[in-house]
Amino acid sequence: MSIALAFLAQTLRIAVPYLFAAAGGVLAERSGIISLTLEGFMLGGAFSAMLGSYYSGNPWVGVLAGIAGGLVLGLVHAVATIRYKADQVVSGIAINLLAVGLTRYFLKLVFDSSSNSPRVAGFSAGTSTTALVAGLLHNPLIPLGLVALPVVAWLMYRTPFGLRVRAVGEHPEAAATVGVSVARVRYIAVALSGALAALGGAYLSLDQHQFTDGMSAGRGFIALAAIIFGRWDPMRAALACLFFAAAETLQIQLQAMQAIPSQFVQMIPYVLTIVALVGVVGRAVPPAALGRE
């Protein structure tokens, strides 16, 4: 097993939650709804997936429960921003805070813990170096995560729904005058974004066989950065996710070597993010109706 292969395998495993969240975020953002909510969707998804697995003993039930949790949070955001025209940034922050609060509350209520859940059934990935690649296939959420953005790309560019998402995100009045229901398209896009981002969260808790408080740890925001870095295009966003994951892998491996002070090493993903956003992207042009009513 070469070092390169180990590096690749670790990068893919780290990338999976980013890929799921970015897949959801691209959909919502292209429909015109800001995706600050990805962090909350992930955390909610991680918790409800753990809960599903805990009560059923089956990680697949956990996956479904995770999706359901994401859908619920997505619909709350959709109702607030579409039906009641709440400010999308404010609603997004509220959703994130709500996810933190709810997961903590139920963690205490159900498991009487303020830090983590008991161990639940999950998807075991091989951890020994020799089993790295086999381990990738052993956790079904990894291949699913890898195809999430290609599937969203197909949806966006090849299907009627995707065309409507793009139209609604750029010029909702134009879509409305040809009989497209702007609200409906956005409801579906935001609900799907909740479900997809929640899958990223489910991956986290099922991979670790438990939920820990705040385990999304900013990954939703990294995914949002990847969307912007990818200029709101699904395939470019996928590359951005892999890039960020590779930076994180590099950081972990360098840290293990202890050659450079760890504080500097830990900065690598964030410095690369800033450099990438400032230098490589240039002026990113968001969907014209993003964040507007």
Binding site: T159, P160, L163, R164, R166, A167, A174, T177, V178, V180
Partner: protein, 510 residues
């Protein structure tokens, strides 16, 4: 207005009323259109033309009255019902999604499928065929944002035709077109009429009405006040019906003084000006011209050819990349807006809502914007003097209603523009940059605004006039410059300027 002629009307609207909040947009408006005609709806801005047509297109229901299409009562129908009944509307602001292709825009909402996906090959074939049938030449794979305004309008028309529109409503379709594009549009509309289509055209340009329409309905203050066949109408009689009184339609420059010689006192001088733009590196590309005091230089051109960047650079809102701007002998290129103002540079901005007025401020406060220091009394505003001066300005400029405390928002477009112009001309001005001075202003106010500009010119102001209305440029200017693609492609004396000469220049064809 019931002289519908032989054929039964295909559209009949009677007793229509609609209010938006406190504003009564239309009351007792009516319309009768017979099949196969081009019907023009004319009226001043705010007369209710667009509102009436949006009701017909199903964008919102009327508060009162009935709408009949082809003998069926369709009052209060929805946009998709209107489309299903073959009524299509081309909006003044295009309803196109710029990053999408022509095909995607046309099929949006009724996409042909194969399985779960869009059958793009079939869609492109069908759109291309429809374009050909309508006599449009276009690459259906092109992105809409890369098209000229005229081409975009053709996509809009195609969109309605593909949806089977037999009654086509066009809202101010020529506002953004160059003269050759207007002729092209007329060709398309005549072809449509020949194939049995019915066209309803909203406009406020009288020459267009007489050129293209068969029947005219005149609206004034939310009512339909007259309906007559175009053949029996003259421009003067239409204008009288629109305004409700006689209007001087001076389109000639005979009233102006003898031409000013080029050696007269220097006014505005622009040398090799380059200004960066959002879309192009050089929105203004090496432009040179000068305007003498006592002269109006008119810049004609289709919008989006660098006029806005040129204006903003001259008045100091945008930095010049290179080149020199001077007033008299004074180089102002590096000066701030306020320093330029102090040198006698006045500005009528092209967008009065964005740059010209604070809509929630009163008329009086708007009149002193930028002049507020002159009303300082021990650190506070001298309200009594502000109001006294406002009353005088209101009377001079004939701003209605004549109440200085009224918010600018409550005024019609024409009266709002009078505030902007009154402020710009409130003192000695060496140079006046007048951008779209009569945009969205009714015929009566246009007359007045033109008179004020001529008076300022005669008093020795150098006026740079930028207007999308070629007729306005021709009516006011002593010399006419044409701007295309960021460059001044020609400057000709008024005597030699004509639509025939300028039209091709405006499209870059000459």
């Amino acid at each position: 207005m019931t002289d519908a002629g032989a054929a039964a009307p295909i559209v009949r609207m009677t007793g229509i009323a609609k209010r938006f909040g406190a504003v009564e947009a239309i009351r007792d408006a009516g319309l009768e259109v017979i099949p196969g005609e081009i019907h023009a709806i004319v009226g001043e801005n705010g007369a209710g033309k667009s509102t009436l047509m949006r009701i017909l297109a199903g964008l919102f229901p009327p508060d009162a009255g009935t709408v009949e299409v082809a003998g069926r009562d369709v009052t209060g129908w929805s946009a998709s019902q209107a489309i299903a009944a073959n009524v299509g509307m081309v909006h003044q602001h295009f309803m196109l999604v710029p990053p999408l292709t022509i095909t995607e825009n046309v099929i949006l909402g009724r996409e042909p499928r194969s399985g779960l996906a869009i059958d793009m090959a079939r869609a492109q074939r069908e759109v291309a065929e429809a374009a050909e049938r309508s006599g449009f030449r276009m690459n259906v794979r092109a992105c809409v944002r890369d098209l000229s305004v005229g081409e975009q309008q053709r996509v809009e028309i195609l969109k309605t035709l593909v949806r089977g529109a037999r009654i086509l409503i066009l809202d101010e379709p020529t506002a953004v077109l160059s003269p050759p594009e207007v002729q092209e549009l007329w060709r398309v509309l005549r072809a449509l009429r020949a194939s049995g289509g019915t066209i309803i055209l909203i406009t406020h340009k009288l020459d267009e009405v007489t050129e293209i329409s068969d029947t005219i309905t005149v609206m004034r203050a939310g009512r339909s006040v007259a309906r007559f066949p175009t053949a029996s109408a003259s421009a003067a009689s239409i204008a009288r019906a629109m305004v409700g009184r006689d209007v001087v339609l001076s389109n000639d420059a005979t009233t102006r003084r003898s031409p000013i010689s080029q050696t007269a006192r220097a006014g505005l001088d622009v040398r090799h000006l380059v200004v960066a733009g959002e879309l192009r590196a050089r929105a203004v590309d090496d432009v040179s011209f000068s305007v003498a005091r006592g002269e109006i230089l008119g810049i004609a051109g289709v919008e989006g050819n660098g006029q806005s960047a040129l204006i903003e650079a001259i008045v100091g809102l945008r930095r010049a990349t290179s080149g020199e701007i001077s007033i008299g002998d004074r180089d102002i290129t590096a000066l701030s807006v306020r320093e330029r103002d102090a040198l006698g540079l006045a500005h009528i901005p092209e967008d009065r809502h964005r740059r010209g007025l604070v809509l929630d401020f009163s008329i009086a406060d708007n009149l002193i914007l930028g002049r507020q220091r002159e009303y300082d009394r021990h650190g506070t505003l001298d309200r009594a003097r502000v109001l006294a001066d406002a009353r005088a300005a209101i009377e001079r400029a004939d701003i209605r209603p004549a109440d200085p405390e009224l918010p600018a928002r409550a005024l019609s477009g024409g009266n709002q523009q009078k505030i902007v112009i009154a402020r710009a001309l409130a003192r000695e001005t060496a140079v006046l940059v007048a951008a779209q001075p009569t945009r969205g202003v009714d015929v009566g106010a246009i007359e007045q605004i033109h008179a004020r500009l001529r008076a300022a010119r005669d008093a020795g102001t150098a006026i740079l006039l930028v207007s999308a209305e070629l007729s306005e440029v021709l009516a006011l200017s002593d010399r006419v410059a044409v701007m295309y693609g960021g460059r001044i492609v020609a400057i000709v004396p008024r005597g030699e300027a004509s639509e025939e000469l300028l039209g091709p220049l405006m499209t870059g064809a000459a």
